[in-house]
């Protein structure tokens, strides 16, 4: 997995690419959120448009990231999940815990509105 952070209106939009699965990829995802928290930025958007595969550990890591931010009054919004990734977010109802938006723009709007 690789990632790239862009700031839009002071909000970190992190584009994740590849597979979010048990192993190093989970540490990478975790670090992204930890860095944001360390910098005092508590609203994060994960752009999942480039993620082609997640397993249960990857899904769990997304929840863990949300939990870390939520505890501090922050928020994680997921954007643009594709195919199976989107299906699994629905199946596991993770989409009811943290917001899942079809596009990054929608995600930014959602996170600003709240």
């Amino acid at each position: 997995m690789s990632h790239q952070v862009d700031y839009r209106d002071g909000i970190a939009v992190t584009r994740l690419t590849g597979r979010i699965t048990v192993g190093n990829a989970l540490d990478d995802v975790r670090e992204v959120v930890e860095e944001e928290i360390a910098a005092g930025r508590l609203r994060v958007v994960f752009d999942l448009g480039g993620v082609n595969f997640v397993d249960s550990a990857g899904l769990g890591e997304l929840v863990a990231c949300h939990r870390s931010l939520d505890k501090l009054g922050g928020r994680l919004v997921l954007a643009a999940p594709r195919g199976k990734v989107r299906d699994l977010l629905e199946l596991t109802r993770i989409g009811e815990l943290l917001s899942v938006c079809a596009t990054v723009d929608e995600a930014l709007q959602r996170i600003v509105e709240d």
Partner: protein, 148 residues
């Protein structure tokens, strides 16, 4: 492929082999004639089963191995994943979709597995847990919507 043919894979309890295990499952689903989507489903289901066998069953003990048996017959792929651990009672595992459990970062593997294949069976051995996954090709067996 008229008769049943069995391919057996045995590996040490290390998560390092997960990608290979998943890939092998996908390749065999391909050999069995499954379409792209079913192939990926089988791969992920086997991956999740192997993670549990390695982590919960064998507790990452490299001296213990995980055995995966793929049985191919026309239109059906039966996969047995067996570890050397203490086993567990599947009906006692918490539902990961309840509002409290939604916040947990684990506990979704069995839910994924159940959604990805047509049938899941559990068998306790002494010692060891065996997970049996059955995936049928929609054209040959029941349709996916009916089965899940």
């Amino acid at each position: 492929m008229g008769r049943e043919e069995t391919i057996t894979l045995s590996l040490p309890s290390s998560l390092a082999y997960l990608d290979a295990v998943q890939g092998m499952a996908e390749l065999l689903a391909c050999t069995a004639g499954f379409d792209e989507e079913a192939r990926l489903d089988v791969g992920l289901a086997v991956r999740e089963g192997a993670i549990n066998a390695i982590k919960h069953g064998n507790r990452l003990d490299p001296a213990k191995s995980v055995c995966i048996e793929f049985r191919l017959t026309a239109g059906v792929l039966k996969i047995a994943i067996r570890d050397e651990g203490a086993g567990f009672e599947p009906q006692l595992t918490p539902d990961p979709t309840t509002p409290e459990n939604l916040w947990r970062s684990s506990g979704r593997g069995l839910l994924l597995i159940r959604s990805l294949v047509n049938e899941v069976h559990f068998r306790r051995h002494d010692p060891g847990m065996e997970l049996i996954l059955i995936k049928s090709r929609p054209a040959d067996g029941q349709r996916d919507e009916e089965a899940s």
